[in-house]
Subunit: 694 residues, 2 copies
């Protein structure tokens, strides 16, 4: 069983640096930490206590992102851009906390967030053998998928019932291993502090993923249980001096997804099909949202969080796509794959691995054929509307919930029920004009992609123009009413269909085809999973070494140096300072998105302009790591990850440490700003002492 | 021969309003003006003198747009957004006239524009029979295309030699008629006045194509000959009171292109293929340019004009595309086509017309198959780079110029030589970073569109990433040197190939395939042309009425009422006033693009805020009409077309007058702003008197 942990993931760095000192590569599992590497390269001893403390201080934001406990009274720090979704949902036209910031001077002023779920990892259990036993070799992919889904649901349900902890079985090494993650789950989360978006996201999209950078990209929440701030047994101590140039530091967070162990067939699919399609869609949405936002301040407020998300993804993926066209990266990967396949030829005992590459390519080809209809009809791209999402969830809940737990679509399993209800019964504001905007555009896109004459398209449009149809659907639906949603959810399939809601009827209209497409894609994913497992087994047997699996939005440990880099012949220093913020703003004549909040203008003279602001390091991170704490060898909080520089955007596919860098906010900047700009001395004190003054 | 003028163009309005009073529809030829319609509906008598005066006062901007003479000393008024290209080319980082405006207080301060060509229509001659005789029925499309190109080149060359006027044969009625247009050509054009872009394009992209509107979208030039302001025999008198609500007015300008007489097969192609592809490309470019512009003020300046053009096209085409999905528009057109085809069945003498619909559909299908490679490799979409355009022009000039005039690619014909050289030897600034940005992106796009493994793509990328290849090409090329371009142009093919310029080598690499694709598309266009001519003949014979051909960027006359409209249950009045400008800015907290130039803030109290600013009318216009004068029955200038409202964007396909409106700047606003905001009393005086004070 243990063998599954130790598969070799062939990475660029490993290939390039063979024989050299090992790079600061890796998103390490907490149950297989890089003890030996740290000992050799940095003479640092990872102890179990150190690891447990960091693990239980680390927080996952289910909306996508990371954070950490920074006081014993449940105070959590993350990025402003991780908190943006929560900020958006508690904002109104009159009180725009997302834009203007917020500070609760007392517990009573802290604002409960809408449908925000935080998770803290408690335990990991290897369940690979139980999963493998339940999916015997020789099962066809369709049956194998169902058997695997059944056993995973069982494991999760048993664990939930026994421990009451959120229990997720996570697929690692593309199917080489299965681990059960148990999380403590918090849903009473309250907003404590957010700076103005202008300073959190200073420089906006133009400076996003760039360095030098000057962002106070932080947001503070407090976790409650039973109406009181939770007392946590683990939180990070605060380092006042913070990160120093050349210092070894660690990042504990939840990298979302990497694609480092994909085969060439899969990478080429990403390069030629998936990335171009995703980018075209993102750019279309960016233009739609930006143009609509420009028409009024209130439009801009309503679209703000979505627009940020779209721009952020677009910039990240443009960078990743460039990596897929880089002959250096692809050449190394291609040669490594060829060499390995050549080697397998003389190892008949690994025939399954030798055949796996072609099996993956064949599955990928099937996925290529179906991916468009799948994305349009099942993956939600055809129906950009919160109301549609609600309608489909109600429709499917009615059909799935009567089934045995192991046979349901994954998101309707018993273990997911609390999270599903949290989201379905959320009373986040829904704006009909914004819904119509997005739905009109996505219905147009459906017609473009599938062809106007396609029978499904004709059914969807129902003889109307996309815009007229969207207007009818949004104005005709009653699903903005949370009480109605609860009633339909409880009432089951019969109640849902009897509701005569046009949005539910639309979801129903496409559901048979959508489900069939999902089955097709999931079956091919199962084929690939089995093939990857075979490759992984062969790699290890033929002399793999300790490594880490691709990212899966579960807790990982990375390490690296605080370190600048050279670019276009110039050295970019590791740290920026507060003085640089004012210079950058002046270069742009203080125009948006380089304008400073009024209080930053007024308080300039009060600030120590030499305070470090942002810094870069060689940590191996990716999207999802946003908000991760950066800690020093003593386990103290020295900074918080924001993102990476442009050169880091290829980390999806391969680690690089010549220019690729993580970017963080420095712990000293956080205290300096709280004390001198926001008059939030109490909050600063809680951070530096780890407790509130009572 | 005269019959060709009188084809019936089946329009929505004609279909909808049959029996009702005739709508204000039509982009009328100057040699077939709507005398009878105006007499009947408005009791207005169009005289030859009135028409000639308006014709010879009208100016075409070859960069795309319209304008008019407004003083006897060669003063021309157009839109700021028509002049933007010229403003961009004379601006520098230190003197950004495009953004900050310009005013020449004396002739000596007027700034010569770079490669700006203005045309004034002198004569129209019908050459349909000569073209038809040279292309006898029964020729295959390839031979027919060549024969037609030959006779057109001959006609143009003869006319140029005889009259020294620019001579263009224009295809009308999709091939139903050919007219020779003779233009006086001006190339010494100097910048006299431009307001700040903030006020010219107040509200930016968000308010573009919207109404109510508050844009001072004007720009003034002066035309010179032999170093002196030209004395023109026709210019428009200035109406101080300007356009009034309910007034009959006329628009004289150059609508670029409409698609009102296309068959359903062609319209479906636009809806399903061309518009989605063009829009995806525009949105991609918009994001590219906007993101790059955000990084620095200088980036923004370099990309400013391109970004405006892309956003403007995107918004216009999104509106047009919505029209193609409108069951009302498409249903009317579809039923009209079916009815006509049904009718043809009982008219064996029109067998050619009956067969023409299927011939067009078949040709469209061939175009559909080749359009992607054609757009990428021939139409320039794969190589977004000024240097590439120069390289290709030099390469082809070397090959084409030794050929007989009638056998050359059209743009290398003798009649086009002056315009070609003006553009090729332009010393407009070229910025390597901007070239690399656009070329990297378009090379990535080539790989996405044609597939990375395509042999042509592999040749184009030459083993490098798109960005690395773009860097090599831009830094390696010497074509920014205008003297070198002249040398290579004079030296011909041998000199061009011997230059060893990497950009020329790239153009050469794809040229054989690109030319072949062009031949394919042009052949199919010829097939469609012949088919449309047959349809037109049948329509006329079966009872068509007086009408106008689709727009062709040649001078047309439109007429209509100054008139508001109802929208979402509210009445939108026909005119806005200056007070509204300040209100709209305040609604947006004076943030860009709703910020006002400093002088507009300072001079608010000096202005008569009741002055009409912009107004709407029922005129039938389309892109290319920008800058067209709006004149009253006395032929006086009462306003200048800016664009149309969102509802007007379907005018590509059908005229509509319930909500579709042209948008203009009012003549009174122009004088008020010149006098009270810009201290340009002399210029205002020249406008109102028609002459300078000497």
């Amino acid at each position: 069983m243990d063998g599954f942990f130790r598969f070799f993931v062939p990475t660029l760095a490993a290939a390039l640096l063979a024989g050299l000192s090992r790079a600061d590569e890796g998103m390490w599992l907490y149950n297989r930490p890089p003890r030996e590497l740290l000992r050799q390269k940095y003479q640092f001893e990872l102890t179990d206590a150190w690891l447990e403390h960091l693990q239980k201080s680390s927080v996952r934001f289910n909306s996508g992102g990371s954070g950490s406990f920074v006081s014993e009274e449940g105070l959590v720090i993350s990025n402003h851009h991780v908190g943006a979704d929560a900020l958006q949902k508690v904002s109104t036209e009159a009180k725009n906390y997302l834009q203007n910031g917020f500070y609760a001077r007392a517990l009573s002023e802290e604002i409960p967030c809408v449908d925000l779920e935080l998770n803290v990892l408690q335990e990991i259990e290897d369940v690979t053998s139980r999963v493998s036993l339940a999916v015997p070799a020789g099962l066809g992919p369709d049956a194998a998928f169902k058997a695997r889904r059944r056993v995973i649901s069982e494991i999760e349900k048993e664990s939930l019932d026994r421990t009451t902890l959120r229990s997720d079985v996570v697929t690692l090494y593309q199917g080489g291993a299965y681990h059960l993650y148990r999380f403590k789950r918090y849903t009473d989360v309250r907003l404590v502090f957010a700076p103005e978006q202008q300073i959190a996201f200073f420089g906006g999209d133009p400076d996003n993923f760039e360095f030098p950078r000057f962002d106070l990209d932080i947001c503070l929440f407090r976790v409650y249980e039973n109406g009181h701030p939770v007392r946590v047994s683990h939180h990070l101590g605060w380092s006042k001096s913070g990160a120093a140039d050349g210092e070894l530091t660690f990042v504990s967070g939840h990298p979302g997804r990497t694609d480092r162990s994909l085969t060439m067939a899969e990478l080429e699919y990403l390069r030629d099909v998936q990335y171009p399609a995703t980018l075209a869609r993102l750019k279309r949405m960016e233009v739609l949202l930006a143009a609509w936002s420009g028409r009024s301040e209130e439009n801009a407020r309503r679209a703000q969080d979505d627009l940020f998300g779209v721009q952020n993804s677009r910039k990240a993926r443009d960078g990743g796509h460039a990596g897929l066209y880089d002959p250096m990266i692809m050449g190394v990967k291609s040669r490594a794959e060829s060499a390995f396949r050549e080697r397998l030829k003389s190892h008949p005992e690994h025939a399954a691995a030798a055949a796996a590459f072609d099996r993956i390519a064949a599955a990928q080809e099937v996925i290529r054929q179906y991916r468009l209809r799948y994305n349009v009809l099942e993956a939600g791209q055809g129906f950009s509307s919160e109301l549609f999402e609600i309608a489909r969830t109600l429709l499917r809940a009615g059909e799935e919930r009567p089934k045995p737990n192991g046979e349901r679509l994954k998101e309707f399993g018993e273990a997911s029920r609390p999270s599903l209800e949290l989201s379905l019964f959320s009373d986040q504001p829904l704006y009909p004009d914004f819904e119509i905007l997005r739905l009109s555009d996505s219905l147009t896109w459906v017609a473009e992609q599938l062809g106007f004459g396609d029978p499904t398209v004709q059914k969807i449009l129902a003889g109307k123009s996309p815009r007229a149809r969207a207007v009818d659907l949004v104005h005709g639906s009653k699903l903005q009413d949370v009480a109605l949603r609860k009633k339909l959810f409880e009432g089951g399939a019969a109640a849902v269909l009897a509701a005569n809601d046009p949005m539910i009827e639309l979801a129903h209209l496409v559901d048979a085809e959508a489900r069939e497409l999902r089955r097709t894609i999931e079956t091919q994913d199962e084929v690939k999973k089995q093939a990857h497992a075979a490759i992984s087994r062969a790699r290890f047997a033929l002399g793999g070494t300790d490594s880490y699996p691709d990212a899966t939005f579960t807790l990982r440990l990375a390490y690296g140096m605080v370190k600048g880099y050279d670019e276009n012949g110039k050295t970019v220093p590791a740290l920026t300072r507060m003085a640089g913020l004012y210079q950058r703003s002046a270069e742009h004549k203080n125009r948006p998105p380089f304008d400073l909040p009024t209080r930053w203008v007024k308080r300039e003279s009060a600030l120590d302009l030499n305070t470090p602001f942002n810094f870069v390091g060689t940590h191996d991170i990716i999207g999802g790591n946003s908000g991760s704490p950066v800690v020093n060898k003593a386990g103290e909080f020295v900074g918080i990850i924001v993102d990476g520089n442009l050169q880091s955007l290829v980390l999806d596919f391969a680690y690089e440490e010549v220019q690729a860098r993580s970017i963080s906010v420095h712990s000293a900047a956080i205290l300096e700003a709280l004390e001198k700009v926001y008059d939030a001395g109490e909050l600063a004190r809680e951070l530096s002492t780890g407790r509130r003054r009572h």
